[in-house]
């Protein structure tokens, strides 16, 4: 009687455990979003801004790790995809800030020296 009960519990636990293991779906959308933001940072000139370039590289590494973990550890893959997305967004912001600051310097120069071309 006792062993029969144990067997029943064991058989019931297998699908439950499988269901738990696959409760986090593979984060394809998050991964794709991070990759898209990485592309935006690239277009915005992040590779030309050292600190932005560093965060682009970190994003690429996180994306690579997330890809390797996909379907094996989806929770971690999702976490890394989110981190990669943050890195990519930061790279984009840093690139935009650098471009704006450069433009501000040029505008100030033009204001101070109106008859000189700094282009």
């Amino acid at each position: 009687m006792r062993s029969r009960t144990l067997w029943t519990v064991a058989v019931g636990a297998v699908p439950w455990a499988m269901a738990c293991g696959s409760s986090v779906p593979p984060p394809h959308d998050q991964w794709a979003e991070a990759e898209a933001n990485l592309g935006r940072a690239q277009v915005a000139g992040a590779p030309d801004v050292p600190v932005a370039k560093l965060h682009m590289r970190l994003a690429q590494e996180d994306l690579q790790k997330a890809k390797e973990l996909m379907d094996q550890d989806n929770k971690r893959a999702a976490s890394l995809s989110a981190l990669a997305n943050s890195e990519a967004q930061l790279a984009l912001s840093l690139a935009k800030a650098a471009a704006s600051q450069d433009e501000a310097r040029k505008a100030e120069f033009e204001l101070q020296y109106p008859n000189t071309s700094n282009k």
């Binding site: 971690r76 943050s86 967004q89 912001s93 840093l94 704006s100 505008a107 033009e110 204001l111 109106p114």
Partner: protein
């Protein structure tokens, strides 16, 4: 179990847990996230881009909570790093906003300066145009005066040409009168017929306000001194007559040149007659 032993075990476990909890150091990622968040919160990002600072705060709370719940879970580190990146992003966005404001301010000022410069340039242009207009009017007046003078001069020349020989050379307009017409031989007294001619010439020249030089010439017969003296006296006689008829005295001078500058051969009667002459030179007005 003996209740006494149970109490001892419980106290030991709680104390150990408390000790462990107290000694647990936050991971570097979380320490960095806290520092970067507080720097953003206390810096210009809070004024310029509070939304992103708020997002960083939420991310930091989530990271703190994850670390409290599962300090060994690598996703807790990921969350801490995400919170850190959001704080940095808030600062970067604030820097962009600040730079855009500086660009707008500089461009506005450039526009103001350009407008001011344009206004100044327009003012200067107006002044130059006014000055140019005045100069053009003056020039037109001068041209009118010159045209009037030239017309009068032509008229005078035409009038004089009827009674004497008139030509132009580098000295100006030259009126030549033969000596025989003006004087008796060896004299400097003007003949009545000469006076009539000179009166007509004086009438034409008296309003010209141009310098006039009367030159007297002789032929080569006789001594040079006598000829020089005679030519000076004859030139002076003509000058005095012209002045007497209204030509301004300060504009007329007389000069005897004797036998100099002959216009014909002194070896013939006709040539000598041509050389005995008076030239009234009307010089150009300076």
């Amino acid at each position: 179990m003996n209740p006494r032993y149970t109490a001892i075990v419980a106290v030991t476990v709680l104390a150990g847990a408390a000790a462990c909890s107290g000694q647990r150091m936050p991971p570097k990622a979380l320490v960095d996230a806290r520092a970067d968040y507080f720097r953003a919160k206390d810096g210009p990002a809070m004024q310029l881009d509070p939304t992103h600072v708020h997002e960083a705060e939420i991310a930091l709370d989530r990271a703190e909570h994850a670390w409290q719940e599962s300090p060994s879970d690598p996703t807790a580190i990921d969350l801490a790093m995400i919170a850190d990146r959001k704080a940095l992003l808030a600062e970067a966005e604030a820097a962009t906003i600040q730079a855009q404001r500086e660009i707008a301010r500089a461009r506005d000022q450039i526009e103001v300066n350009k407008t001011s410069e344009l206004k100044t340039a327009k003012g200067a242009l107006n002044q130059t145009q006014q000055a140019l207009g005045q100069t053009q009017m003056q020039l037109q007046d001068q041209e009118r005066q010159t045209a009037t003078l030239e017309a009068k001069l032509r008229e005078a020349r035409d009038t004089i040409a009827k009674i004497a020989s008139v030509k132009d050379d580098e000295r100006g307009m030259v009126i030549t009168l033969p000596g025989e017409v003006l004087y008796k031989t060896g004299s400097w007294d003007l003949k009545p017929a000469a006076m009539a001619k000179l009166e007509e010439i004086a009438r034409v020249l008296k309003d010209k306000e141009q310098p006039i030089v009367v030159y007297g010439f002789t032929d080569s017969v006789g001594t040079r001194d006598n000829n020089m003296s005679l030519s000076q006296k004859r030139a002076s006689a003509v000058r005095d007559y012209l002045v007497g008829k209204g030509v301004p005295q300060d504009l007329v001078t007389a000069q005897g040149k004797g036998p100099e500058d002959p216009v014909a051969d002194n070896n013939s009667v006709e040539g000598r007659a041509q050389n005995r002459r008076v030239e009234i030179v009307v010089q150009p007005k300076h």
